[in-house]
């Protein structure tokens, strides 16, 4: 059972790599190198702040685009091209297929993030010529970005299990935007009354709270991240992704593959 999930995950990873997804790393490296050189020339004293902000935001956006654009086609493309027929006619359970696809995409994003992180640290070294202890905080910000990716992967997979790639992309991206303002939504819910309050509170807790994962600003200012937040975000991301993935499995288990 675990072996089948691993084989599906590994095939998904290989597909992403051969689809030249990781070529975006070259674009990322060029962008960061150019930015580091430019920042080194025009900024005084804040080069490091700008490079960290720019670098981590780029890691997050590049990963988001990859997660959504691969994730939305993971199931629907397999149905459309009928590659799924020769997989599900074997002793493969439908949930194994979904979970395998999730781990394959998550693995692609982790590898992608690892290489982009090397780019961020290289650009940082270029502008500051040394590393200090506070730079380790960048790793926490990267960890939070990876946790965000897990949630986005599961959402893209959920939408892909019942919708077309285009609609899935719209849904996933909309949820990312709404989730980035989840704290504001919660604040609004607290101020509203009656049915609106009930509705806003429900929506605020249903959408993924991506704002809690964004520590790029504080990391750039070398402000420490509370250990409690690390635990909270880890448990939240794993729980949220597991719930969404269960939803995807539930839908896919009952879907007719016409």
């Amino acid at each position: 059972m675990r072996a089948r999930v691993a084989h599906i995950a590994s095939n998904t990873f290989r597909e992403a790599v051969r689809d030249r997804v990781l070529y975006n790393l070259i674009a990322f490296a060029v962008l960061l190198s150019g930015a580091a050189i430019l920042v080194g020339q025009i900024s005084i004293d804040i080069e490091k702040l700008v490079v960290i902000n720019l670098g981590l935001t780029a890691v997050s956006l590049f990963g988001l685009v990859i997660a959504i654009f691969i994730g939305i086609g993971l199931v629907s493309k397999e149905i459309e091209k009928r590659t799924l027929y020769t997989v599900l006619s074997r002793p493969v359970r439908r949930w194994e297929f979904i979970v395998g696809k999730f781990f394959g995409l998550a693995g692609t994003l982790v590898v992608n993030t690892f290489f982009m992180a090397i780019g961020v640290f290289a650009a940082l070294f270029y502008v500051s010529h040394k590393f200090v202890r506070a730079d380790a905080l960048i790793l926490v910000a990267l960890y939070f970005i990876v946790l965000e990716f897990l949630i986005i992967c599961s959402l893209a997979l959920l939408f892909s299990s019942f919708s077309s790639p285009l609609l899935s992309a719209v849904f996933a991206f909309s949820l990312f935007v709404i989730g980035s303002f989840a704290e504001d939504l919660r604040g609004f819910a607290g101020m509203a009354h009656g049915f609106t309050r009930w509705l806003a509170t429900g929506a605020a807790y249903l959408v993924p709270n991506f704002s809690a994962f964004n520590v790029i600003g504080s990391v750039a200012h070398e402000q420490p991240v509370a250990a409690q937040l690390i635990w909270h975000n880890t448990l939240y991301a794993l729980f949220y992704a597991a719930m969404v993935l269960s939803g995807a499995v539930l839908i896919f288990e009952h879907r007719n593959l016409k």
């Binding site: 084989h7 091209k81 590659t83 027929y85 599900l88 007719n256």
Partner: protein
């Protein structure tokens, strides 16, 4: 023992924007396929053949009914390890090579790790794919992809193999090879379920056939039985090119090919025809009853269905 037992499988789809209308793709289907036979599942396009196969593979869920494969519930994963399936016009992960694809399928089918490479190589050879190392499937022709499809269906040495239009995209040589392969599978004791609309393939290969039309089963039987009904005519072939006066008197149409002559006459005139050939000192080559072809049986079943539907309307 029955290798496949279909127990009233039925499929109705909900169609339209609000899914309020229904469309019946398959009426309750009852069918049994014996172990070790090549069973033909025949029907025109859109008859319900692919729906039946999708139901058996667990790709779509039945509205009612069930099935048993190798005497176990058909959706049991252990049963799936014993079956092979070639979908119609198969499409594979085109970023993989044929070796990588088959290795992936071998992993999913539970082929032991130490056997995989040998099995993949042997299966590719068996379906006639050579010198394809390092070539991604996106560069394969339609016929080559069909061979890959057949390879993935038999790779894990299944006991029952389902083929949906396996000759599609193959050249005459390829079709011949696939026919031979199916015969080999039969001799190895495997059950072959062949869904096709090419009747000559079915007639040449199958032990028994079922005919399906508009989602309904129209007839089942052994090919030999279905084609054995003598129409009261015999075919006479002799060495010519002379045509005896008796034959001319019968008004039978004689076809001369090289130095042989062929004609069809009424069965009750066959003795007189043979006597006439003897008198003229012509050598009789063959005297065979005219049998109904599978095609004639198929057309008759379909026409009967259309007529019945017309009467009911």
């Amino acid at each position: 023992m029955n290798a496949i037992e279909i127990l009233g499988l039925e499929k109705t789809y909900r169609v339209g924007f609000w899914a309020k209308r229904t469309k019946r793709a398959l009426h309750p289907l009852h069918l049994a396929v014996e172990e070790g036979e090549i069973f033909g599942f025949l029907g025109p396009n859109g008859a319900g053949k692919t729906t039946t196969l999708k139901l058996l593979m667990g790709l779509v869920f039945p509205t009612a009914g069930s099935a048993r494969i190798l005497e176990r519930d058909w959706i049991n994963p252990e049963v799936k390890a014993q079956i092979g399936f070639l979908p119609e016009q198969p499409y594979f992960y085109d970023h993989l090579t044929a070796h990588e694809l088959l290795k992936y399928y071998a992993q999913l089918s539970g082929v032991p790790a130490k056997e995989r490479s040998r099995r993949v190589e042997a299966t590719l050879q068996r379906v006639g794919l050579k010198d394809i190392h390092g070539v991604q499937l996106r560069k394969f022709s339609k016929g080559m992809l069909q061979r890959v499809g057949i390879a993935q269906a038999i790779l894990h040495d299944p006991k029952v193999v389902f083929f949906d239009e396996p000759m599609s995209g193959l050249d005459p040589m390829g079709r011949r090879e696939v026919r031979d392969l199916m015969e080999e599978l039969k001799h190895e004791g495997k059950t072959v379920f062949l869904s096709t609309h090419i009747l000559s393939d079915a007639e040449a290969l199958c032990d028994r056939v079922a005919i399906i039309h508009k989602g309904e089963l129209r007839g089942v039987g052994a090919v030999a039985d279905l084609t054995s009904s003598v129409q009261g005519k015999v075919e006479v072939i002799w060495q010519g090119p002379q045509i005896p006066a008796f034959m001319k008197a019968l008004g039978a149409e004689c076809h001369i090919t090289g130095d042989t002559v062929r004609t069809i006459i009424d069965e009750n005139q066959q003795d007189a025809a043979v006597d006439a050939l003897r008198r003229e000192r012509l050598r009789l080559i063959a005297l065979t009853p005219v049998r109904t072809s599978l095609e004639a049986y198929f057309v008759e079943k379909l026409q009967y269905a259309e007529t019945s539907a017309g009467r009911t309307a």
